[in-house]
Structures are given as structure tokens and as C-alpha cells.
């Protein structure tokens, strides 16, 4: 589905990504784990064309999206749920969700998806007319995921969905990520919380200083000594 080949990024003089290649096959949850500054978020931003890439190729569903505008990439069916929630605080929850469906014109299917998002997160329906800025961290994360889903993506990319949330809510969010995947959306997950991410992933990649150092099925990585030492603190 999504294929990244030899991705290079420079921030000024810093070579942030040094040839990252990865695959997101159909129907799977793929996670990208690594420490702070390893280049996880940079990878996602580069896929969305939010930052320019020096070299490399990104294709989605057979289309080359390397040099496309962000909005065209969203139209192709890739969406990013950015790090740190980033909901629109002074818009209501309903308006935030509408913004997610910004590029879509078909009102009926938008209404259907809105209902689906409210079914996934009943909390949001209760607070439909509340300003997003007044929500708790966990609720904002739910809204951010819901908003991303409103663009009807084929691939949902999530940047640190567990950031700053209580363990019980993290568990809840990961359950929902699984549920979203089962409904047919591919997921590329970026996490520092390696254990939680690998537990639900079909396949995982480990990034270190801009390169992929390890990959394998999620369950296998969980038992890998190197990973256990570096990321699981065991």
C-alpha cells in the first residue's frame, strides 16, 4: 500500500533521515518505534509533504506521491493525526470533525462517517457543541483521531497517540486503533511507548539516528533482546 524507499531529509546542516525504507502492506498496523530525535515524526511529515525531502521516493497504492501537495495526498487517502493532538481549540467538536472532512463533498457519506466516529467515541457525541480546547487530554486525542478518520483515509498515520495520557486511557486508545484497523483502515503508528505499540502491530520498525536498525513482526520485536534493552527498559 504505502512504500517508502531510501528517504533522506536534511534540516539545515543536519542529516536527519539517512535512507529510511519501509512498507505498509494492506490491512495491517505497522509501528515505527525509537527514541526521541530518531526521526520518527520527520518520516511522517515527509510522507505528508509537510517538510521537503532531499532524496527518496514515496508511493501509495501504486501512485507516486513524493512531490505531491499535502492536500492531494489527503485526497489520495493518506492522513496524519499529528503529535500532541493539535485539535482546533476554539472550534466545537462538531466543527473539528467537519474540518476533517474538508476535502469531501458527499454529504451523505460524511454524515455516515460522523456517526461512525461518534460510535467509536461516545464521549465526543455527549460534548458535540463544546469547544475542543475545553476537553481533557484523552478526549482531545480521541477528537484528533476522529477528525483524521473523517477524511475517510485508507492509511491513517498517528504520531504518538499516547503522549501525555494516563495509562488507562492509552489502553483505551490502542483498543480503538485496533478496531479502526479491523474496519479496513491501514495504520502507521509512531510510538515511544514501544510495548503498547508492538503488542497491537503486525510488523514493526526500529529507528535510530535516522536509519532503520531493526525490523520484524511485532511480537518478535517484543522478545528481541536489543529492543528489550533499549526501549522496554528490561
Amino acid at each position: 500500500m504505502l512504500k517508502i524507499e531510501n528517504l533522506h531529509i536534511h534540516y539545515g546542516g543536519i542529516h536527519a533521515l539517512r535512507g529510511v525504507s519501509l512498507d505498509v502492506p494492506d490491512g495491517q498496523i505497522i509501528s515505527l518505534i525509537g527514541a526521541n530525535g530518531a526521526g520518527k515524526s520527520t518520516t511522517l511529515k515527509a510522507i505528508m509533504s509537510l517538510i521537503p525531502m532531499t532524496d527518496g521516493r514515496v508511493s501509495f497504492d501504486g501512485t507516486d506521491i513524493t512531490r505531491m501537495q499535502t492536500r492531494d495526498i489527503v485526497r489520495e487517502g493518506v492522513v496524519l493525526c499529528p503529535e500532541g493532538r493539535r485539535v482546533f481549540p476554539d472550534l466545537t467538536i462538531a466543527e473539528n470533525l467537519t474540518m476533517g472532512a474538508y476535502l469531501r463533498k458527499d454529504k451523505e457519506s460524511i454524515a455516515k462517517d460522523t456517526k461512525w466516529v461518534y460510535d467509536l467515541f461516545p464521549r465526543l457525541l455527549e460534548r458535540k457543541w463544546q469547544l475542543a480546547g475545553t476537553l481533557s487530554g484523552g478526549e482531545q486525542q480521541m477528537l484528533a483521531v476522529g477528525r483524521a478518520l473523517m477524511s475517510k483515509p485508507k492509511l491513517l498515520m498517528m504520531d504518538e497517540p499516547s503522549l501525555g495520557l494516563a495509562p488507562i486511557i492509552i489502553k483505551n486508545i490502542f483498543e480503538i486503533i485496533k478496531e479502526i484497523n479491523q474496519s479496513g483502515v491501514n495504520i502507521l503508528l509512531i510510538e515511544q511507548n514501544a510495548k503498547a505499540a508492538l503488542e497491537i502491530s503486525h510488523y514493526g520498525y526500529v529507528v535510530e539516528t535516522g536509519t532503520i536498525v531493526l525490523c520484524g513482526p511485532g511480537k518478535e520485536l517484543l522478545t528481541n533482546d536489543q529492543v528489550r534493552k533499549a526501549y522496554l527498559g528490561e
Binding site: 493539535r86 485539535v87 476554539d90 474538508y102 488507562i168
Partner: protein
């Protein structure tokens, strides 16, 4: 006694009737002012200024408050609109008198447009300039954009005053004999129509996109919003209405020159939108009226004042602007989001405000506040004894809280599983 006040909503037809009544009241008020039944011609002038500034203020708020683009070029767009109206509405036989130093260019000498057409042309010309300069400068962020737009507005002023432009703009001599308003209805209706159009834009899906860009550009871009297109749209629409406002101002003043469109004008508009609330249309209108009336009725600060023969030294021309600056600082410090913040006037808000009133009043009458104060005083008098008792009860309370918490956690866990 209800602990938490519950907001109630009025039904739709009531709101519609109230809105219609308000509109009717405005029309009647305008009519009475126009016919001189209430107020003087001085009041009429201030109202005219206030409605024109409302229009320009809302246009500036559209860019600054709703789209989050820090633009300070409003005075330049106003100048374009004002000069367009000025040049094309001065009657032909008055033109020789206006352009007395250098005659008016032959091409436009006999060319007079009706007020409406000239006004529209001024708006469109301002919008065209906005579209042209928007393409390069809207890629800039915050303060850099402010500097670029400010520079643009100064360029417009310099061009108007330029020697080569004299046959068209009459340079630094300015324009006079511009036919003024014959009725108050013209500026009121034009401003109302302009503001209504902008409100419709703000409430459309474009408006939602503007707000999304204001709140978080990256997130908005990730949603597939075309940042440039929306910023440009908001910038151009804003310039259009600033041009219209400038045209109205020219007609109101009947004499203009390029010095009237200095940065000070933009600064005044900034004061209006910050005071009213960045991102509030009704706030802008309210504060435009407040500032316009305030500016006139605070004139005594500019005149020399004396107490018992002793002349107060600080009362001199210019003090009024100092007061304004202080006002702006005070608003920014204590009332960060202005009068209305990002809220709009709503009948529900008014209704709930008054519903709360009698309740507050009753509470006051019952003397709840008084008894509270009494107990406090007593406790201070009794000293430590009460304090320790209070802390004991607090401790007990905390214990109870903890057990409740634990129970809650258990419940949540059970739910999760």
C-alpha cells in the same frame, strides 16, 4: 438554591422576532438621526464615522482575528478606495479648482462616475492590489507579514503623493469638493450589507477553514486545507471591504489627502479590533462605536484645562492619543481577549445574563455574603482552636475523598475490562 446555573435556550421564533425588532429599532434610530429628531449634526457625523469604522474594523478582523494572519495594510487599501471615489465623483466644473497647481489629466478630466460605481471600483481595485501583493507576502509568517503589509500601505501613500501622479491624485494637495452624503442611510446600509456578507463568509465552510488555519496551521494543512488559497481569499475580501470603507470615508470627509492614510489609521483599527475582541464581529462593531464616540467626547483632554486658575500642564493636544494607548495597554494586560473575546452577541447570552440577575440579587438580599464574612471574622478571633478543628475536619474529608477515589478507580477498571 441551584448550585450550578443552567443556561437555557430561547426558541427560534422568539430569537427571530427579537432580531427583527432590533433591526427595526436601528432603522428607526437611523431615520430619527437623519431627520434631526434626535441628536445634532455632530452626532450624525460621529455615527457615520462609527459605521464606516465598523465595516473596516470587521474587514481587518476577518484577516487578523479569524484567519490569524497578522496584516497591517488596511490603511493602504482604504487609501485606494478613498482616492478612487474621490477622483471619479468630484463634479467636472469643480475639478479646475481642485487641481489648481497641475491640471487634471485629459484622459479622466470629463469622466465622472456615480457614487455607487466609483465605490465598487475602489473596492475592486483594492482587492486587485491585495491579490497581487498577497501572492508573494502571504507565505511569510506573523511579524514578517505585518512588516511587509505595513510597507505596502506606506508605498501606496508615497505613490499617491508622488509628483508623477499629480495629474491623477493631485499629490500632496489632496482632493476636495468630493460630494458628501445626503443621508445617513447610505453609509449605514452599505456598512451593514458589507458586514453581513463577511459574516456569511465566516459562517461558511471557508470561514471554518479560516478559523482552522488561525488555530493551527500544520494541523489545518494535514487536513488537506489549502493554506495559501484561504489566506489569499480572506486577504482579498478584507481589502475589498477596506476599499469600500475608504470610499465611504472619502465621501464622509469630502476632502482627503494622502497623509490621512498613515500608519496611525491602521493603529486605530487595531485598537478597535483588539478592544472588541480578535475574532468577534459584534465586538468589533461595539468597540468601533465606543472608540468613535470616545474619541469625540474625550476631546477635553486635548484642550487646555485649568483648576481654579492653575493650568494643568499635561492637558494639551495629543493627550487623547496617549489615553488611547494606555487603554490599549490596559486591555491587553487585564482583558486579554477584548470585550467579546471570540464570542458573538446572542439572544441566549443576554437572556441568561438577566435570568441570573434576580438570583444574584436575592442572594445578596438574604445576606449570604454578610454571614460568610461574619463567620470568617469569628474564626480569626477564635484563633488556633478553630484552625486546628478545621484542619482535623479537612483531614477527615481527605480520607473520605481517597476512599471515594479508590472506589471510582475500581469502577473504571471494571468498565475497561
Amino acid at each position: 438554591m441551584p448550585m450550578e446555573f443552567i443556561n437555557k435556550k430561547l426558541n427560534k421564533s422568539t430569537k427571530l422576532i427579537l432580531t427583527l425588532l432590533l433591526v427595526l429599532a436601528c432603522i428607526i434610530l437611523t431615520y430619527m438621526l437623519d431627520k434631526g429628531i434626535i441628536g445634532t449634526s455632530y452626532t450624525v457625523r460621529i455615527v457615520r464615522i462609527a459605521v464606516i469604522y465598523s465595516l473596516i474594523g470587521v474587514s481587518m478582523n476577518l484577516v487578523n482575528g479569524f484567519t490569524g494572519v497578522f496584516s497591517l495594510g488596511q490603511a493602504g487599501f482604504m487609501a485606494i478606495g478613498a482616492y478612487c471615489v474621490g477622483i471619479f465623483t468630484i463634479p467636472v466644473d469643480a475639478r479646475a479648482n481642485v487641481y489648481y497647481l497641475e491640471p487634471i489629466s485629459d484622459k479622466i478630466a470629463g469622466f465622472v462616475l456615480p457614487f455607487g460605481v466609483a465605490l465598487l471600483m475602489g473596492g475592486l481595485l483594492a482587492a486587485l492590489f491585495a491579490a497581487l501583493i498577497g501572492a508573494p507576502i502571504l507565505k511569510l509568517k506573523s511579524d514578517y507579514l505585518a512588516i511587509a503589509t505595513l510597507g505596502f500601505s506606506e508605498i501606496i501613500r508615497a505613490v499617491i503623493a508622488n509628483e508623477q501622479m499629480w495629474p491623477i491624485t493631485n499629490g500632496s494637495l489632496g482632493l476636495k469638493s468630493i460630494p458628501g452624503f445626503t443621508t445617513l442611510f447610505a453609509p449605514v446600509l452599505i456598512s451593514a450589507a458589507g458586514i453581513t456578507l463577511m459574516v456569511l463568509l465566516i459562517n461558511s465552510s471557508y470561514g471554518r477553514a479560516f478559523k482552522a488555519i488561525r488555530e493551527d496551521e500544520t494541523a489545518a494543512e494535514s487536513m488537506g486545507i489549502n493554506l495559501f488559497k484561504h489566506k489569499e481569499l480572506s486577504f482579498v475580501v478584507s481589502a475589498f471591504f477596506a476599499g469600500i470603507g475608504g470610499g465611504l470615508l472619502a465621501t464622509h470627509l469630502t476632502a482627503i489627502d494622502s497623509n490621512q492614510f498613515k500608519i496611525a489609521v491602521t493603529y486605530e483599527l487595531l485598537l478597535i479590533i483588539v478592544l472588541g475582541g480578535l475574532g468577534s464581529v459584534t465586538g468589533t462593531v461595539i468597540s468601533a462605536f465606543m472608540i468613535s464616540f470616545g474619541k469625540e467626547y474625550l476631546r477635553f483632554f486635548d484642550a487646555a484645562q485649568s483648576i481654579g486658575g492653575w493650568q494643568i500642564p499635561i492637558f494639551r493636544p495629543g493627550l487623547r492619543m496617549v489615553i488611547f494607548s494606555l487603554l490599549l495597554m490596559a486591555v491587553v494586560l487585564f482583558w486579554r481577549r477584548g470585550l467579546m473575546g471570540r464570542k458573538e452577541f446572542s439572544w441566549d447570552g443576554i437572556y441568561n445574563f438577566f435570568r441570573k440577575w434576580p438570583w444574584r440579587f436575592k442572594k445578596l438580599m438574604r445576606g449570604d455574603y454578610k454571614t460568610e464574612a461574619k463567620t470568617k471574622r469569628k474564626s480569626i478571633a477564635a484563633g488556633k482552636a478553630i484552625d486546628s478543628a478545621a484542619s482535623k475536619s479537612k483531614r477527615a474529608g481527605r480520607k473520605a475523598d481517597k476512599t471515594a477515589d479508590r472506589e471510582k478507580k475500581k469502577e473504571v477498571k471494571a468498565d475497561a475490562e
